[in-house]
């Protein structure tokens, strides 16, 4: 506990709001109101995570991000009022670990901060390399022998059926499964009206492992085709 988070945004009220939210979660918050200020604080203080807005005076968020990445490997979450896919991709490609569009859900933001810090601090060893029986995808880790799914290093409680679905997805990241196939392989019965059953289970799994179940990042619907586990781009 007591990780230090740097929040950089030119909107003082937003910085203050994030400060209140994160302090409630038990983090120490450092404040910056432009890019240069943020770099200055980073050079002096020990910081475990950076929340940085894109549109800032003096030095914009993305430039600051690149400067930070030259020296540090700490998790960086980009905040932006631009919500388009291209903006998100740009931010991630420049070295951001996550991208949160404004206006964000404060609780989701807190969850993402928590998730990034967990992966950075507690699971540092996992970053280095994984064992043969472990499949890693973003913040998820699946142990095929134990059949346990870890999200941000914490085991996710899944029912037997959910575990089988997760097993199928984690072993085949990126592959699209039609509902019928999932049904056949998980329930081992002929598929009939499988769409609803599969969807119900997927929704439950999402609630357990997604940071924002309404905008899932891992288990996604490929509309008109099936379901898949999204393969997360690895940083570095």
């Amino acid at each position: 506990m007591g990780e230090r988070v740097l929040v950089a945004d030119d909107d003082r009220e937003i910085v203050k709001a994030i400060d209140i939210l994160l302090r409630k979660e038990g983090y120490e918050v450092l404040k910056a109101y432009d890019g240069l200020q943020a770099l200055d604080i980073l050079s002096r203080e020990s910081v475990q995570l950076v929340l940085i807005d894109v549109m800032m005076p003096k030095l914009d968020g993305l430039s600051a991000l690149m400067r930070i990445r030259e020296k540090k490997n700490i998790p960086i979450i980009v905040l932006s009022a631009k919500s388009e896919e291209t903006d998100k991709v740009l931010g991630l490609s420049m070295g951001a670990d996550d991208y949160v569009a404004k206006p964000y859900n404060p609780r989701e933001l807190a969850a993402r901060v928590k998730s990034q810090l967990r992966r950075y601090t507690s699971l540092g060893d996992i970053h280095a390399g994984s064992r043969a029986s472990e499949i890693k995808n973003g913040r998820l880790l699946y142990n095929t022998e134990e059949r346990i799914l870890y999200a941000d290093g914490e085991p996710v409680r899944l029912t037997a059926t959910e575990t089988r679905i997760v097993d199928l997805f984690m072993r085949n990241p990126g592959r699209v499964f039609p509902a019928e196939e999932i049904y056949r392989r998980v329930w081992e019965e002929d598929a009939f009206a499988s769409e609803n059953t599969v969807m119900v289970h997927i929704r439950r799994i999402r609630e357990k492992l997604e940071l924002n179940p309404k905008e899932p990042e891992y288990i996604k619907v490929v509309w008109g085709i099936g379901y898949k586990m999204e393969k997360q781009e690895k940083r570095n």
Partner: protein, 870 residues
């Protein structure tokens, strides 16, 4: 099955109609032909009675017989069928006209007339003075030889021909000045030949002269008349179908029956049912023992049945008053013959009555048959009238068939048909001259021809009635259409070029023809007829050529005028006059004062058109430039609009982030009074709604400007619907409405962006949940309609739907109060996203039923996949 029966019914009803008309018409014509003359067709009683003695022919026969008997009784002359008698020998013909009576004999007249004419001819020859030999042909005239009439006629005919040829030769004397000696010699021989011929005939005529002497022709003597009467009696007495007794002055002269006294007792032997008695003044007739009324009111008229003496206006002379004649006629006549072997064989007697009876019976039989046919025809016609609907169908079918035939063919067939009838009538009219045309038509045109005539006219009428514009289906029209269709499809420039080529080639052909024909005319061509024909040809060709020239010229003129109007218009548009043509037509004057004269030429041609099309092209280039700029600017402004909205939404998002964040902080604050918590709840709700709205506005504006990025992929429409429904299952389960789905299990593959399409149906389903009547059902169906897959969402609105409202309009909602959580962009997003994916979006209302339809083109028909192996 049904149509088969219908077709059969059609066929049968028309057949009935056809037979009915044919039978009725044919038999009416036949009845007209076969009916006894003087009997009207509606006098059925008279038409169908089977007693030959009631016929007009019988009455005429009896009249003639009585006349003959009276001639015999009174010693008159002119008995029928007896050879003439003169100079102690019989000769002549079967007719009164043939043997010599007194002055005025037919051939005698002819001969005398001709003889005199020939004398004139001799005069003419004499006056011309050449050749002198002709003079010798002259002979004494004015006498008639007693040669036989046939011989005389032959000679006269020969003589006439000779005279014609001779006169023709004489005509040629006019040209004789240019003749050479050979021609002259030929001519002389010919003339001499004719002269010899004429001499021969004249000699023959003269040799007969003493025998055929008009002076010696005398009336028959009493004795001769008696011999003729006796001969007549001998000829007819063997025919016992007609018994007669002829008495004069109380004394029986001729009779072929001992049992028929001429005393008015009217006693006739068995089997003779008709008795006629003439007492010297009047005639009495008994038929089957009953007296027949002959005279009526006592005056003879044209329509009186009997032409017999005894009417007040038809009396006999003194000599006949002493005569008495009684005639009896057999009820059923038989054939009488006599074996006159001494004279070399059998001979038949007159037997007129027998044959009359036979013919009469035959005719009655025919008439009865024809009436039966007529009756059947009328019955069939009535039947055809009952099923006239299907008959009209049949007539339409026939018309459809007729419509396929070229008009020219029909025309030829009809003309030939009517020409045939005309020829037929002509032949019979010439043959049977003296009849009135009406009777002629009824009598000589065979019934079959009448029927054919009717059907010919019927076909014509049917064609005209059912087929509008029958001339469209004609060889000429089709040729014209082929050519004009070919030229229609070509660009104007090519058409003009082709016209020029045509004109050039036509001129070439015309020139060649003219040269040839003038050569023909001016060459040393003897025959005037051919020269005139060629001249006529020249005129015809010139007319045709000029017509063709005019027609192509007119077309080019039209094109030129249009080009001019076009270039004028281009100039106007270039100068900034964007009014449409109609507005200009009504004023007649455009912005730069281009007025049009009556011929359609712009008044200031030089300004608008220029000498060539080059300035016009330059103007067009200017317009293109301007338009490109305008389009560019429009695009730019579109982009700016999206940018503006993006900026605005960005600017809204930043304060919104603060609001949402502080609301969240407030929510986590403890110890607040309940009413404050309530305020916070409202703030939370509204701020989230604001967030959704900002996102939606941004999405719609991007989609509307065509900048919405889409990732098109093949997907199963049905699956997408099922997934969307599954995704929204909780929302649906919590709502007051029930969803009824009808989505096929087999894939319906379309090309679309799944994420966008999901948003489309999410919006539609949310709307359906939001605006449906509580407890009602929402119907989701996916159907394939040919090449299209159509998904529809139907729901019953809770609120009354306004008519004519555009629900897909941005911010339009089912109710106007706007208190619910929607952004009002649901349908608008659905529409713009569907269209961005290449689908068709449509919606309609029917009372309170709201129906949205989304259609995509199906990529390929479904083929059942093989089971994928594990």
């Amino acid at each position: 099955m049904d149509t088969k029966w219908k077709n059969r019914k059609k066929g049968i009803s028309f057949l009935v109609f056809f037979l009915g008309i044919s039978l009725a018409l044919g038999n009416i014509a036949a009845i007209f032909r076969d009916r006894p003359s003087g009997v009207r067709i509606w006098q059925l009683q008279r038409l169908l009675q089977d007693d030959y003695q009631e016929s007009g022919r019988f009455r005429a026969y009896m009249t003639h017989r009585l006349e003959d008997f009276l001639i015999m009784a009174t010693g008159g002359e002119g008995l029928w069928g007896i050879w003439g008698y003169a100079d102690g020998t019989y000769y002549g013909g079967y007719d009164r006209d043939y043997y010599y009576s007194d002055y005025g004999d037919y051939y005698g007249d002819y001969y005398e007339e001709y003889w005199n004419g020939y004398t004139e001819f001799q005069e003419a020859v004499r006056e011309m003075g050449y050749p002198q030999e002709a003079e010798e042909d002259s002979a004494d005239s004015g006498s008639v030889s007693s040669m036989s009439v046939e011989e005389l006629a032959d000679y006269l005919e020969g003589l006439e021909k000779m005279q014609d040829d001779y006169l023709e030769l004489l005509d040629m004397i006019g040209d004789s000045e240019q003749w050479d000696s050979d021609q002259m010699e030929d001519f002389r021989y010919q003339l001499e030949d004719y002269r010899d011929g004429i001499e021969y005939y004249l000699g023959e005529l003269q040799s007969y002269r003493p025998e055929l002497d008009r002076e010696r022709m005398k009336p028959l003597t009493e004795e001769q008349k008696q011999i003729i009467a006796r001969k007549y009696h001998e000829r007819i007495q063997g025919d016992k179908n007609l018994l007669y007794t002829v008495a004069y002055d109380g004394k029986a002269l001729y009779s072929n029956s001992d049992f028929l006294p001429a005393d008015g007792s009217m006693a006739a032997p068995e089997g003779y049912d008709f008795v006629l008695y003439f007492d010297g003044e009047k005639v009495r007739i008994q038929k089957d023992g009953k007296e027949v009324d002959i005279y009526g009111d006592g005056y003879y008229r044209d329509d009186s049945d009997w032409y017999l003496p005894g009417y007040r206006n038809f009396q006999v002379d003194e000599t006949a008053k002493k005569a008495a004649v009684c005639i009896a006629v057999a009820k059923e006549p038989v054939l009488f013959s006599e074996g006159a072997y001494g004279n070399g064989g059998t001979k038949q007697y007159d037997n007129t009555l027998y044959w009359m009876d036979r013919n009469f019976r035959d005719r009655q039989r025919n008439l009865i048959r024809e009436f039966k046919g007529l009756a059947i025809g009328i019955v069939l016609l009535f039947a055809a009238f009952l099923c006239r609907k299907s008959r009209q169908e049949a007539a339409k079918s026939i018309a459809r068939f007729q419509a396929r035939i070229w008009m020219e063919c029909k025309l030829v067939v009809f003309l030939l048909f009517f020409y045939g009838i005309y020829l037929f009538l002509l032949v019979f009219l010439i043959d049977g001259s003296g009849y009135s045309l009406r009777e002629e038509m009824a009598d000589i045109v065979p019934p079959l021809l009448w029927v054919a005539l009717f059907w010919g006219i019927w076909l014509l009428w049917n064609d005209l009635r059912h087929n509008k514009k029958i001339w469209r289906r004609s060889l000429i029209a089709e040729l014209y259409r082929t050519f004009s269709a070919k030229s229609l499809n070509q660009p104007l420039a090519r058409k003009i070029a082709r016209r020029n080529r045509t004109v050039f080639l036509t001129s070439l052909v015309y020139g060649a023809l003219m040269t040839g024909e003038f050569l023909l005319i001016y060459s040393d061509w003897r025959d005037e007829g051919i020269r005139i024909a060629v001249l006529f040809l020249v005129i015809l060709e010139t007319v045709l050529f000029l017509t063709a020239l005019y027609l192509t010229g007119a077309k080019n003129m039209k094109a030129a005028r249009e080009v001019d109007v076009l270039s004028g218009r281009i100039a106007q548009i270039r100068n900034g006059d964007y009014r449409d043509r109609q507005a200009m037509d009504s004023t007649g004057v455009s912005a730069n004062n281009t007025a049009y004269n009556d011929a359609g030429w712009p008044r200031n041609v030089e300004e608008s058109a220029g000498q060539n099309l080059e300035p016009v092209m330059a103007q067009l280039e200017d317009i293109r430039h301007g338009m490109a700029k305008a389009v560019d600017e429009q695009m730019k402004s579109e982009r700016m609009k999206v940018e503006l909205i993006a900026n605005v939404s960005h600017d809204i998002k930043t304060p919104l982030t603060s609001i949402i964040s502080y609301v969240e902080i407030l929510k986590q604050e403890e110890g607040l009074p309940d009413y404050v918590k309530d305020y916070i709840r409202i703030l939370d709700e509204k701020s989230h709604r604001l967030k959704n709205m900002v996102q939606d506005v941004f999405a719609v504006s991007k989609a509307a400007s065509g900048e919405l990025p889409v990732q098109m992929e093949e997907l199963d429409f049905g699956k997408l619907l099922r997934q969307t429904l599954a995704d929204m299952e909780e929302q649906i389960a919590d709502s007051d409405v029930t969803f009824r789905t009808e989505i096929p299990e087999e894939p319906v593959m379309i090309m679309a962006d799944g994420e966008r399409l999901y948003r489309v149906f999410q919006n539609l389903f949310q709307n359906a949940i939001k605006y449906s009547l509580e407890g009602s059902r929402v119907y989701i169906t996916l159907r394939t309609d040919g090449q299209l897959a159509v998904a529809s969402v139907k729901n019953t609105s809770r609120q009354e739907l306004e008519k004519e409202k555009d629900f897909a309009e941005r911010f339009a909602r089912g109710d106007a109060s706007r208190t619910d959580g929607g952004s009002g962009l649901g349908l608008s997003i659905a529409q713009s996203f569907t269209e961005a994916c290449g689908g068709q979006f449509s919606w309609e209302t029917d009372a309170d039923l709201f129906v949205v339809k989304i259609a995509f083109r199906i990529l390929r028909p479904y083929i059942a996949p093989k089971e994928t192996a594990q």
